[in-house]
Amino acid sequence: AISDNTVKIGYLADMSGTYRDLAGPNGLAALEMAIKDFGGKVNGAKIEVVSADDRNSPDTSSSTVRRWVENDKVDLVAGLVASSVSIAVSKILEENDRLGIVSGSAASSITNEHCTPNHIHYVYDTYPLANGTASAVVKEGGKSWYLLTADYAFGHALEGDVTRVVEANGGEIVGSVRHPFPTQDFSSFILQAQASGADVVGLANAGADTTNAITTASEFGVTQSGQTLAALLLFLTDVHALGAETAQGIQLTTGWYWDMNEETREWSDRFMKETGVRPTMVHAGIYSSTLQYLNAVAATGSDDAQTVRKQMMETPINDMFAKNGRIREDGRMVHDMFLAEVKTPAESRDEWDLYKILRTIPADEAYRPLSESKCKLVNN
Amino acid sequence: MSSNPDREYEQLRMSGLHAFYGESHILHGIDLVVHRGELVTLLGRNGAGRSTTLKAIMNMVGRRTGSIMINGEETMQCAPHHIARLGVGYCPEHRGIFSSLSVQENLTLPPVVRSGGMSLEEIYTMFPNLYERRFSQGTKLSGGEQQMLAMARILRTGANMLLLDEITEGLAPVIVEKLGEVLVALKNKGLTIILVEQNFHFAAPLADRHYVVEHGQIVEEISANELSAKQSVLDSYLGV
């Protein structure tokens, strides 16, 4: 049965800090679109939304989520961006047996050593990012790599994944540099990358670090001197900020792009009407996962975490976000990923027309196989 | 004393002046008049409000009411920098030597407000100590040297009304003697001087008139020639 005849969804994300643009207030808009599209009610029960800024702080987020689940009877926590916040929240959800869907975090540890039976990791993680971009670039002849890695857990994970993929495909890492997070001036590192003579300069960082590195690379003529830039985590908002002129030719992996087909375009147009911007993969993931959740609640007639999660795991995901996506027992939603290249200014029609999709990376190839999982829910 | 043609000109007139520091009411209605070329002293015990009177003229106290006319102009609404530009030179009790400036920079700091001030050479001949130490940091001077510097720097500006607060403090007797001569010379040049002094022996022979301040009020006015007659009154006020 549905508790108190209400399905209550808590949206927790960075509303004002570094991750604001990739999820933030617009993610809430996506969530509300999903509820509206679903019809505003589930099996006659109300759907309510509460939301909060996570302040990028695990303890503020813990307080919020504890109150949500203990006092406000929140059934689902959505959003979830900073990995420290996602992990902290998932522990609380496990304690209280509620459900969480992580849409914004990159850490693959969320469904690996930190997996719980109470959360789902929906959009992407570092594993396919490395897999998609690195293998494609190596196959195209980019054999020797130089890595610029953000010196924190996310960067280290990405670096590890990239190294594995590059070496598996017959390439080699000729050098790497771990830069502090955040770094504004990358010229010194770009210079070292240039001096290394590597074919590819890989950016194992995110956000402002990545955009700064790309700007500097373009200023120092990295591509002119024959090197390729490979960014491992770029959101549409980052590329938009850089512009096609600076970012052109960069290859990247994404879980979704707004301009892939009729369905995505239709939804993105509606999203843009609401928010004024094109959606990132995180926005689309929030929309999709919320719909999937509500469908499962409707199907089971219950908002109990385990019941709903089971139902979601049993139902393949086929919507504008993913085709044949499925949720594994470790909580990982696996779906096809896409290798994209940033268009040249000549190719780009408008400021949001930024990617060419080069290749689809099949779900099974993209994500960490369960056989390698350290998740306590997986019997290895 | 030399009689000056401007003697009747009212350089300064304070009437009903009250002054406050925050909550505390320090001056309770001061009335006094100083004519051009006159040297008057403010005498009184510690804490009587003499320094405050000078600061009030400069608009450097918390709040003031009443009236202060300088050269016939009402200055209650004037900012301190306007008052200085009326030709008032102020030598504060705490000396106010700037540590980020050298002695020479300290000396040349106050802008010249009128012509007729002393030149740097004149000042250096008057205070050879300063000349010797002119490149050292202002606050590295000895106590007495700082006092000389504080006095010397307003002599350069050409101000024609000097407010001098305890200028002999901490000075060796020879220098005090010299300062006495300087004041006489300045007076002869027609400058108006208001002198706050503890050192009555220094002030007595120089002044035309004395005001005795007590509890923020003028309680007695004594001119130079009534000094001997009113000696006992004065002693009782000053607690000699």
């Binding site: - | 007495g144 003697e177 120089l206 000053l238």
Partner: protein, 268 residues
Amino acid sequence: MSEQYVLETRNLVKEFKGFVAVNDVNLQIRQGDIHALIGPNGAGKTTVFNLLTKFLIPTRGQILYRGEDITPLKSAAIARKGIVRSFQISAVFPHMTALENIRVALQTAEGSSYSFWKSGHSLHKLNERCMELLESVGLAEFANTTTVELAYGRKRALELATTLAMEPQLLLLDEPTQGMGSEDVDRVVALVRKAAQGRTVLMVEHNLSVVSKLCDRITVLAQGAVLTEGDYQTVSADPRVREVYMGSDGSGERGAQAPSQENVEAAQ
């Protein structure tokens, strides 16, 4: 007392970037004396004080206290030996009451100054002594007044009382009467005289009447070096002292020569 001198300096020198502020000074201060250090402005008197109390490090030379070489000691250690100074520019704890100011000084001897676990009431036993000291400088009625609110002269008096609270063996006073009205000056003179019983005092003073009344022995500094030494009579008779320091009016009174002699007499 085996040592004749409480304090001795041997060839004390202080240079500031090539400028010699104190030049080869040999001071000898006898037990029980009130010893004055006088000299023109910039002669190096305050600097000598700073050297004796280690607020400045001597460039060369030695400082002996009761025969013991104290040159390497730090300020606080010197104070604990019983050499205590007052400052030329007034030094009080502005946001404490007068009584608390003195109590801080008394706590040094108390030995409880690190006791952060003890109640504040444990300090009340010092109040009586505080009141005595305050009374001796005429500040008893201001015991409970916050020090900022005291007039300048009273702050000086308070500072002196605080210094006395340390029960110093050797008291260093830098211009104790500066900025005081004649009334206060007399009080300070009396106070110093009282304080000097059983102690030794070294003072810098420009007020010659104070010096002449109080001091047993006088050292005249000029340009960093000792010019002469002796009792007041000897020193004031020395023409060199008259020239560099006392000026033409060597009468012992502080002040300039009067342009009109009558006025001065009238004033006295």
